[in-house]
């Protein structure tokens, strides 16, 4: 079966597109799928850093598009997960170096060899966004439970619908359950109420993400990380599995409850 192209986008910057791309890619590859990520953010690349592959870049996407390198040469294979590869963006060029039809061509060349092709879209709704959306079979929209991020996500969903790329699937990132409980943060329901698209996953706020991002080792590699678990669930839902949404209570509360139960039982 030819590979599926999934684009991760958001409109607003800083909501966690790159982190989500890296973690979903790791989760899919760890489950045995062949995965390649493409960094669509030409000029402001980040995905290589988050995936910890920065020091192995020789050729990039623009080299491939302009014929200086073959796809295979630009592809960096992750040594921790042999089924995971990255095609990095160029840092010294800008979005205009690649066109939507270049992206479609590159993805079509990749489809026979991979199960999943994940594209990390840049923020905004201009050329870089259009490049990233052009080859997509499926679009994931990442947003935070913040009014401004939701507003931008709504705009992007409208553009995706206009380009006839389906409604898109929602990934709600950085949810702080204590704030939601106090009524100080939009809840999942509030966000879905506005955006009205299917929900693919909810990622709890987790300091571990920041640490793992800086270290270049995505949280989904860590079996114990809760946000990593949420990303692994997203990967399974992408594959069509029916995975129940996990409760958002943090680990400590859960352990405390467990401890309480033991003391009662004892």
């Amino acid at each position: 079966m030819p590979g599926k192209v999934v684009t991760i986008t958001s409109g607003k910057g800083g909501v966690g597109k790159t982190t989500a791309t890296a973690n979903i890619a790791v989760a899919l590859a760890a489950a045995g799928a062949k995965v390649v990520c493409i960094d669509g953010d030409i000029g402001l690349r980040n995905l290589d850093v988050v995936m910890g592959l920065e020091n192995r870049i020789v050729y990039d996407l623009v080299d491939v598009v302009e014929g200086r390198a073959r796809l295979k040469q630009a592809m960096i294979r992750d040594k921790r997960l042999p089924d995971l590869s990255l095609i990095p963006a160029a840092q010294t060029r800008d979005k205009a170096a690649v066109s939507p039809s270049d992206m479609i061509r590159v993805c079509n060349d990749l489809r026979p060899d991979f199960d999943w092709i994940l594209i990390d879209s840049p923020a905004g709704i201009e050329r870089g966004f259009r490049n990233s959306i052009a080859p997509a079979d499926q679009v994931l929209i990442v947003t935070n439970p913040e009014v401004s991020a939701v507003r931008d996500a709504d705009r992007v969903i409208g553009l995706i619908e206009a380009e006839e790329k389906g409604p898109g699937y929602l990934v709600l990132n950085r949810v702080k359950i204590e704030l939601v409980k106090r009524g100080d943060m939009l809840s999942t329901e509030d966000v879905l109420d506005i955006l009205a698209i299917p929900l693919l996953g909810v990622i709890p706020e987790d300091e571990g993400i920041l640490v793992s991002t800086n270290r270049g080792s995505p949280a989904a590699m860590d079996d114990k990380n809760r946000a990593g678990q949420a990303f692994r669930n997203i990967a399974r839902r992408l594959k069509g599995e029916d995975v129940p949404f996990m409760p958002l209570e943090d680990n400590k509360n859960f352990l405390q409850k467990l401890a309480e139960r033991f003391t009662k039982a004892g």
Partner: protein
């Protein structure tokens, strides 16, 4: 057969008018070939495209826009007689009319402002942030109007859904002939959940008070010089 494509210079750049009758794939392909033949001339050009009565989807227009942008030609306006095509162009953020006092692609048909006021457009989808519906007559939406979307109507606005964006009913509308009506104080806005970011009727402006309790269908109108919203009830109407 006459030339299916005419190109002329206007103040904003180039105006390309596609003749009727030709199928879209063929005529857009011919246009791209024409541009390729004179790549230097077209490089960096701003293009307004007159497509006549053709019914085109946003995907059709998006493909052409992308093909043009690869040739360093930017598509900035699509002029059409088809509401579907105009909607599609607006969805892509393209203009659907040239700024005033530019010679239009074709002479505008005579429109009587009074008649135009009585026409309505029906939008059967949710308007998301960034979408704008402008119409000289009434606007009816079956779906939500999300924050960041706007409706400007010369007549009344009815939203069968949640109205959270900006809405202007009875707007002073410039007609195609350039004459302007004064705005209609008698226009109303109704919605199942009336909580717009901002509500305007004619020259009056109001913002929604914070809502208490469950949303109820409401209608806003001008009474004694200010905008008021009232619960809509079937009784006595």
């Amino acid at each position: 057969m006459s030339d299916p494509i005419t190109i002329k210079g206007i103040r904003e750049g180039l105006l390309v008018t596609l003749g009727d009758g030709e199928n879209w794939i063929a005529v857009s392909q011919t246009l791209l070939e024409r541009i390729d033949q004179a790549a230097d001339f077209f490089k960096g050009a701003k293009l307004a495209l007159g497509v006549g009565p053709r019914v085109l989807s946003a995907a059709d227009l998006g493909r052409l826009r992308d093909a043009l942008s690869e040739r360093k030609v930017s598509l900035w306006a699509v002029l059409s007689e088809s509401p579907t095509t105009m909607n599609a162009a607006q969805a892509l953020g393209l203009l659907v009319s040239l700024p005033a006092n530019t010679p239009a692609a074709r002479p505008d048909p005579e429109i009587n402002p009074e008649e135009a006021r009585d026409e309505a457009v029906l939008v059967r989808r949710t308007l998301r942030s960034g979408r704008s519906v402008r119409h000289g007559g009434h606007v009816i939406v079956i779906g939500d109007v999300n924050p960041g979307a706007e409706i400007v109507a010369g007549g009344n606005v009815v939203v069968w859904g949640r109205l959270r964006g900006v809405v202007h009913a009875g707007a002073p509308f410039t007609t195609l002939q350039g004459s302007s009506t004064d705005g209609d104080d008698g226009a109303v806005v109704c919605a199942l959940d009336l909580s717009p970011t901002q509500l305007r009727i004619a020259r009056y402006i109001a913002i929604s008070p914070a809502r208490k309790g469950e949303p109820k269908p409401e209608m806003a109108r001008i009474r004694n010089g200010q905008i008021i919203a009232e619960r809509w009830s079937a009784k006595g109407k």
